[in-house]
């Protein structure tokens, strides 16, 4: 599905990451693999350090911390927010929506439109699409797109295929009207027939959590995982990304009549360095134009990785200049999407630590 939006812009991005760094080299002992093989994996995939929340820390804690930072620094006024869109796969509770919990904790006005969206690695683009649609309403002038996940709490520490790359984080992007903004193009695709490639099998209504679903099983490749944990078919995900994402981006650029070399940066979801470099090779994009350094510094935090790769690599530049960028998300659902827009002259663009 193609979208286009006029007179909209992102005016600032804040990422919130847990303060404590965890190191792959120290976690290797939890995996049932020879050290030499784990070290080779570290080199290929770019595993180094990641940020995980302490037990008990929830999505609303990270989001409220970020909003309070913006309010206290005078970067955002609570009454200016007309909508709060939260994209998460790890809500505080099934009921009520976590966006309402955030609204309540921050004492935002009752006129705030709160909405939870259950999406993952495509969640930043999907949140933006929803925000742009809301901004078509006269009554909506400023929207906060919050992406947040604490999926380390649902990932087995003895699963070498998932745990080293996982990260917890939140981001807040402020979206508003701008009469002079260039047209924004987006493209979104979904394939629910492949929904089991990325899944937490137990814990919902289909398969409630029980003592049995919490038991660690040997799931092959010497990995131990419970049905309560995140399950990722790495090979299937890798192939899905390599097959589906390049034509999606090419179609988006064609739709916008923008050549590949006119795009300053490609800010993609960050599954791991190897996958992104293969994607860049396929599309003949220089690695410098497609940063892939989030997993090695923070971990893969689902929908938060695109805001994180933007703030981590373009912190100062996006305060002072405007760049034409392509965003691309891909993962759980399966869902894949891309957006072409101008980013820049932000009011803020920063990463802060949650303590």
């Amino acid at each position: 599905m193609n979208f286009s939006f006029r007179r909209k812009r992102i005016s600032g991005i804040l990422a919130v990451v847990p303060a404590q760094e965890r190191f792959f080299i120290e976690e290797m002992k939890n995996f049932n693999f020879p050290e030499t093989r784990s070290l080779k994996l570290k080199e290929v995939m770019g595993f180094d350090k990641h940020r995980l929340v302490e037990p008990g820390v929830c999505v609303s804690d990270l989001a409220v911390f970020g909003f309070e930072h913006l309010f206290n620094k005078g970067l955002l006024r609570p009454d200016d927010l007309d909508a709060l869109i939260l994209v998460t796969q790890s809500p505080d509770h099934f009921i009520p929506p976590t966006s309402n919990i955030i609204q309540g904790r921050l004492k935002l006005k009752p006129d705030t439109f709160c909405l939870d969206i259950n999406q993952g690695c495509s969640g930043f683009v999907i949140g933006l699409i929803q925000a742009f649609l809301l901004l078509e309403q006269e009554s909506v002038r400023k929207v906060a797109v919050v992406n947040a996940d604490v999926l380390s709490r649902k990932t087995s520490p003895k699963d070498r295929n998932s745990f080293p790359l996982i990260g917890d984080a939140a981001s807040i992007a402020i979206v508003e009207r701008d009469a002079e903004a260039s047209i924004i193009h987006a493209n979104l695709k979904m394939d629910g027939t492949r929904n089991e490639i990325l899944m937490i099998p137990a814990g919902g209504f289909r398969l409630p959590s029980t003592p049995e679903t919490a038991v660690l099983n040997d799931v092959g490749d010497n990995n131990l995982r419970a049905r309560d944990h995140l399950r990722m078919d790495g090979s299937a995900v890798f192939n899905f990304v390599q097959v589906e994402v390049p034509p999606l981006i090419e179609a988006l650029l064609s739709q916008a009549s923008v050549p590949m070399n006119a795009v300053d940066y490609f800010f993609c979801h960050q599954p791991n360095r190897f996958m992104l470099q293969k994607l860049a090779d396929k599309m003949q994009i220089p690695y410098a134009k497609m940063p892939s350094n989030v997993v090695e510094n923070f971990g893969n935090s689902s929908g938060v990785t695109i805001p994180t790769v933007i703030t981590f690599n373009m912190k100062e530049r996006l305060l002072k200049e405007k760049l034409k960028v392509c965003l691309a998300g891909f993962g759980v659902g399966l869902t894949w999407c891309a957006m072409l827009l101008d980013l820049g002259f932000f009011d803020f663009n920063n990463i802060i630590e949650y303590k």
């Binding site: 080779k40 080199e43 790495g234 890798f238 390599q242 996958m275 090779d281 396929k282």
Partner: protein, 76 residues
């Protein structure tokens, strides 16, 4: 220059790759070993094996890996 067998031996020294017809089915290479193998072959032969070709069928044995390298202009 290293041979494919030497590269495989570095990744999983405990196995005799010449004796197997299916490294994946025989449990000699897992999915992450395949990625390590691709990264190593890319580096030593100066190529970039396409992501869409990183599927188990292409890494079953020395013949299929050789065919993949030939597709990328390398005579193994």
């Amino acid at each position: 220059m290293k041979t494919v067998t030497e590269v495989l031996k570095e990744i999983r020294p405990e196995f005799d790759f010449a004796a197997s017809k299916d490294f994946i089915a025989d449990g000699m290479l897992d999915s992450f070993d395949v990625l390590t193998l691709v990264a190593t072959l890319d580096k030593i032969f100066g190529i970039s094996i396409q992501g869409v070709d990183i599927v188990p069928e292409n890494f079953k044995n020395l013949e299929t890996i050789g065919a993949l390298l030939r597709k990328n202009g390398v005579q193994p």
